[in-house]
């Protein structure tokens, strides 16, 4: 199957794929063998955006990218990051109640899964993690909080995430971690990048 490549303005191409697994595989593939003139690559929920330095490079790459295909998805897995989790979030009780399960059950289901960084966005170091137990899927809060503390472990829809810094947010708060998701003195500053695997390890006191 050849790729669906859309001109996304003069200097970028958007490649639409089926899901974030295909997007990550393609993202890795393009990172390994980038067309001439690539400035940036954005892997997302069901697409990869390839940004070029100029219009000429984008046009030249358009036809060559079309001839590529989505690589096999069962590629080598990314690095595993373990996130210590204190399950003490402000929304835990409400989440358990509306899902009709105990708090312990919510925590167990969140803790047991292995997650994949599908893409990043919203804020530096904010990683959208997929692999959340479907029994935990809930829409975001109807009224977002104006202030979500840094390190908050939260979920919304099919995603879970850790807020790297204090910010407004509408996700449901399950707990917090003391691990720094974003540290400008670290190289790279973002702990989680597309393709990495994540596990939450419960910390009890």
């Amino acid at each position: 199957m050849s790729l669906r490549v859309l001109a996304y303005g003069e200097r970028a191409l958007l490649i639409e794929v089926a899901d974030h697994h295909e997007a990550l595989a393609l993202y890795d593939d393009i990172r390994r063998e980038p067309p001439v003139g690539v400035v940036d690559l954005v892997s997302a929920a069901a697409s990869v955006l390839v940004v070029f330095a100029d219009e000429e490079s984008a046009q030249a790459a358009s036809s060559t990218l079309r001839t590529r295909s989505v690589p096999r998805v069962d590629r080598a897995v990314g690095d595993l990051v373990e996130v210590p989790a204190h399950y003490d979030g402000a929304d835990l009780g409400e989440v358990a109640e509306s899902l009709g399960m105990s708090v312990e059950e919510v925590v167990r289901r969140h803790e047991i899964a292995e997650y994949l960084v599908a893409f990043v966005g919203f804020a530096p170091g904010f990683a959208y993690l997929t692999g959340l137990d479907p029994a935990l899927h809930m829409p975001r809060r109807s009224v977002p909080r104006t202030r979500v503390p840094a390190g908050s472990i939260a979920m919304a829809g099919e995603y879970t995430a850790v807020y790297p810094r204090e910010s407004p947010g509408g996700w449901r708060l399950l707990g917090h971690t003391t691990l720094d998701m974003w540290d400008l003195d670290r190289e790279p500053p973002a702990l989680l990048q597309p393709g990495m695997r994540v596990r939450f390890r419960r910390v009890t006191r």
Binding site: R11, A12, D40, A44, S47, V51, G121, P124, Q193
Partner: protein, 286 residues
């Protein structure tokens, strides 16, 4: 020799440090940022003989007053603002000499939104992730400049001060025509959605370095759901459920979920960056 400094006496509504930004860091969730009107920023650097990536000040709607610790050359480009150096009126778009201890004032521009003040040697605040740009979305880079702040001048020169009195610059149009390349993705907009572009749009007061909101004809969507989050570029014209376009600028988020009608062509982006709240502009598919 000690390097000079610039003291911010008054920052005006918003003055930030800007250079070519931080392209290539989307995997970290970092916006490209950088000077919104890139050609104006580059011209300012050329006029004072700076390296093309020397950091300058992006002055939003004028109002900046600065004092220089030692004599030197500066240039103001972009939105045409009155410039006064040590009490003497100077033309923008040319090298301006400022004596030691001299005060430089940049007034409110008659048109446009963003003026650029390049100082020979560049603004030498510490770079963050390879750039000195203020990113208003993420807070990366130096905070917007405050009164009383003192910023260092660096040594990022590439040649002599330009031997010209002023550079010829086309005046900003009253109602700029912003050329857009439509996104060829069927299904998201009504068949006649582009008809809405027959009339001009007003730039909303709710406009900043992250994005520009436009007020005018509603662009009809065929679907009300969101697109799975996808990568974005500066100039992407998003259509939220309200149908009122939002155009991403330099500090845009790296991913987003509103469908995109099209992307502003590179040659129109500087004009877009100079459109000020309240003024009208036209979007034209080319």
């Amino acid at each position: 020799m000690t390097s000079g400094t610039v003291e911010i006496v008054r920052p005006g509504p918003l003055t930030t440090v800007q250079d070519n930004g931080r392209p290539g860091l989307a995997r970290l969730g970092v916006s490209p940022s950088g000077a919104c009107d890139r050609p104006a920023y580059h011209l300012a650097n050329r006029l004072v003989g700076n390296a093309p990536d020397a950091a300058a000040l992006e002055v939003t709607l004028g109002g900046l007053v600065v004092r220089f610790s030692q004599s030197g050359w500066v240039a103001v480009t972009g939105a045409p603002a009155p410039v006064v150096s040590a009490g003497r009126a100077c033309a923008p778009y040319g090298p301006v000499f400022v004596p030691a201890g001299g005060v430089l004032k940049i007034g409110v521009p008659a048109a446009g939104l963003r003026s650029y003040l390049a100082v020979r040697g560049g603004i030498a605040v510490p770079p963050v992730l390879g750039s000195r740009s203020t990113d208003m979305l993420t807070g990366i880079g130096p905070a917007p400049l405050q009164a009383g702040q003192i910023v260092p001048i660096g040594d990022a020169t590439a040649g002599p001060v330009a031997p010209v009195d002023l550079a010829p610059v086309a005046p900003l149009p009253q109602e700029p025509v912003i050329e857009i390349q439509p996104l060829d993705r069927p299904g998201w907009f009504a068949d006649n959605a582009l008809d809405a572009l027959r009339d001009s749009y007003r730039v909303s007061p709710d406009t900043n370095r992250i994005g520009m909101r436009l007020q005018g004809n509603v662009i009809e969507r065929a679907r009300q759901d969101e697109i799975p989050s996808e990568g974005h570029v500066a100039g992407a014209i998003q259509i939220p459920p309200s149908g009122q376009p939002v155009i991403f600028l330099a500090d845009h988020p790296v991913t987003g979920g509103y469908p995109v009608l099209g992307v502003v062509r590179a040659r129109s982006f500087p004009l877009l960056a100079q459109a000020r709240p309240g003024q009208r502009l036209r979007l034209r598919v080319t």
